[in-house]
């Protein structure tokens, strides 16, 4: 099984349906298949085992994704926002092969030897041209992809260090798709807007899911909230996936412009902790939309747990249990197992916190330097959390971020949620800093709402009134901004470093915590 077969099936079952692009004049599944096959033939004629892409969303993404599978090469989408040092390291790691880049991508680094640069336009020209008709000698038969071929290499966001290349094999991506998507289940009028970048696992899985479901793909080259809203309206988009920071910015546009996205039916979100205020506002503004919270990792071929529309709707009508569950990642997919393990490695019971482990055919848990699955096939996510009695998964954040104060494990996310509920707080980050008495102390960095004033003592009291006193920050620093990865994940490591070097301050606003240009 390989992802190219998914496209073949869609072309077989709905060849004339629009697969890609605008409602009228878009590319059909039959045409997409032809272009992808041409792309594969061209890739097969190029040196190396990898097909790199340094670009935003464009027609080149699905053609390289499916074409690579056909040519038995790994598709390697690379972030065009990497700092020069990291980009140099990633490109060197690509080895010999092709790199397709945006027309205006001025490479900040020299290309390593053996890597051939093609512009997006040059690549698309290659894909549009059918290979010359076979001459006297018969054409070589297309290589038969193996389920063990590497389909995609993704450099993970690495909130805790240098990027690592996660390996996703054909059998894992296809297991994810056929385990979660019903073939051609989308109505012919459905369209999915892809605005997460192609080097994000959600950008890859959205293409595969849409093709297998028979849902037309509409792309936004790079996310900008007003352009996103316009495209939803213009292209009658019914489905979309966003990360929390994107949703917050979309809401700002909805509130400012009065847009309500009448065509949208389904909005899934994931890729980071969703602030309660953001999702509650979205539910209120868009009552006609089904919301889905999806939890997954690059290493698990995307989603492993979902909180579905029903749970979101129960919250909207004021169900108390649903309010609590709205902060959960929902329940595991039927095709994966999730287990919580304590520090001793033993499975933890309901309600007991520990590390999230996952097992299933879609779970890759592999990097270029080797597999990370344990003997039983389980992958350690390094995420902390617990399962409640009904099997809902609650996440506390990265295991490395847990604050250990006097032997008690404290979740920064829980404290941040309380801080964010304060009307004067726009953003909040909680980290543990060394403490001679308690081992670690809870320290918060807060970005105030514009025009609001609040002091540290008031915020400390706010937390103390809502959580146990051990969770109250011993220090609250006010900053102009917090560092995030491009996909909106808070860079707690960076916050910890910067707060650790700051001397204790009063309540005046200090300088911002600078975003880390290296971080991604």
């Amino acid at each position: 099984m390989n992802i190219a077969l998914l496209l073949e099936m869609a072309a077989e079952g709905a060849g004339q349906r629009v697969a890609f692009g605008p409602r009228s004049g878009g590319v059909s599944y039959a045409e997409l298949l032809r272009l992808a096959w041409n792309s594969g033939e061209w890739l097969a004629s190029q040196p190396g085992q990898r097909a790199g892409l340094l670009d935003g969303n464009s027609p080149a993404v699905p053609l390289l994704l499916f074409g690579s599978a056909r040519a038995r090469k790994a598709f390697v989408p690379v972030s065009y926002r990497l700092a020069a040092g990291q980009l140099r390291a990633v490109l060197a790691g690509l080895g010999p092969g092709v790199l397709v880049a945006a027309p205006d991508a001025a490479l900040p680094v020299a290309l390593p030897d053996g890597l051939v640069l093609k512009t997006r336009g040059q690549f698309l020209d290659e894909a549009r041209h059918d290979a010359a008709p076979a001459s006297a000698s018969a054409p070589a038969p297309a290589p038969v992809p193996s389920p063990d071929d590497i389909a995609v290499l993704l450099f993970t966001s690495g909130t805790t260090g240098p990027p690592k290349a996660a390996v996703l094999r054909q059998r894992q991506l296809t297991a994810y798709i056929i385990g979660t998507v019903e073939f051609l289940s989308a109505g012919p009028e459905e369209a999915a807007l892809i605005s997460v970048p192609p080097y994000h696992i959600a950008g890859i899985s959205a293409i595969l899911s849409s093709v297998y479901a028979g849902r037309r793909i509409v792309q936004l080259e790079s996310f900008e909230p007003r352009a996103w809203v316009r495209l939803v309206n213009d292209e009658h988009v019914t489905h979309a996936m966003v990360v929390p920071t994107m949703l917050a910015r979309i809401i700002d546009v909805l509130l400012a412009d009065g847009e309500r996205l009448p065509s949208l039916r389904h909005l899934s979100y994931g890729g980071g902790r969703m602030p309660a205020g953001t999702i509650e506002t979205a539910l209120r503004l868009l009552p006609h939309v089904d919301f889905v919270n999806a939890y997954g990792l690059t290493e698990t071929s995307s989603t492993i747990a979902v909180l579905g529309p029903g749970d979101h709707r129960r919250f909207a009508v004021g169900d108390a249990a649903a309010r609590r569950r709205l902060s959960s990642a929902g329940r595991p997919l039927p095709s994966v197992e999730i287990e919580i393990r304590g520090p001793d490695g033993a499975p933890a019971g309901p309600g007991v916190r520990g590390e999230v482990f996952v097992r299933g055919e879609q779970v890759a848990g592999e990097y270029l330097d080797g597999a990370r699955l344990d003997g039983g096939g389980w992958f350690a996510t390094r995420d902390a959390g617990y399962l409640d009695e009904d099997g809902y998964l609650f996440l506390d954040g990265r295991l490395d971020d847990i604050v250990v104060r006097g032997g008690e494990n404290l979740s920064p996310g829980e404290i941040e949620d309380v801080l964010l509920a304060h009307p004067a707080v726009r953003e909040a980050a909680v980290v543990g800093l060394p403490d001679p008495e308690w081992g670690e102390q809870v320290v918060a960095a807060v970005v105030p709402e514009a025009g609001e004033t609040v002091d540290a003592a008031a915020l400390q009291q706010w937390v103390r009134d809502r959580l146990r006193s051990s969770r109250t920050p011993t220090r609250v620093d006010f900053v102009a901004e917090l560092p995030y990865t491009e996909s909106g994940k808070l860079l707690r490591r960076k916050v910890r470093e910067q707060l650790g070097t700051r001397t204790r301050q009063g309540d005046h606003e200090g300088p911002g915590l600078q975003p880390d240009p290296q971080a991604h």
């Binding site: 099984m1 390989n2 077969l5 073949e8 099936m9 077989e12 079952g13 038969v144 193996s146 389920p147 054909q170 059998r171 296809t174 056929i178 385990g179 979660t180 998507v181 019903e182 073939f183 051609l184 289940s185 999915a192 959600a202 899985s205 959205a206 899911s209 479901a213 489905h239 996936m241 389904h266 899934s268 994931g270 089904d290 889905v292 999806a294 997954g296 995307s302 989603t303 979902v306 579905g308 529309p309 997919l333 039927p334």
Partner: protein
């Protein structure tokens, strides 16, 4: 026949093609339209038709399962033959009701 996951098979009597999603617990006889399925890369023999009693059809994109052996296949190309496993008709698995998450 080695029905390992990811292996592809075609009918000897119609256009049907399948990919194995889950292997059987033990060796089985896997047929489409009453005749043993062939590896996908094999050509279809001429002039053979599905057995009349086993011409119910195999539908593109449907997953077929045999509970007894545990074999599960996905139909990647439709055909007129019916899938049988050790003589038992494979059943169409019911669609999953999962919300789109990406």
């Amino acid at each position: 026949m080695d029905l390992k996951p990811g292996s592809r098979w075609r009918s000897a009597v119609c256009d049907a093609e399948v990919v194995v999603v889950r292997s059987p617990a033990a060796s089985v006889t896997f047929r489409i339209g009453g005749i043993g399925a062939l590896p996908a890369e094999t050509g279809r023999p001429d002039g053979v038709e599905p057995h009349v009693a086993l011409a119910g059809g195999t539908l593109l994109g449907k997953r077929y399962a045999d509970e007894v052996s545990g074999l599960e296949v996905l139909c990647t190309k439709a055909g007129t033959g019916t899938i049988t496993v050790d003589g038992r008709r494979a059943t169409v698995m019911t669609p999953r009701q999962l919300p789109a998450s990406d």
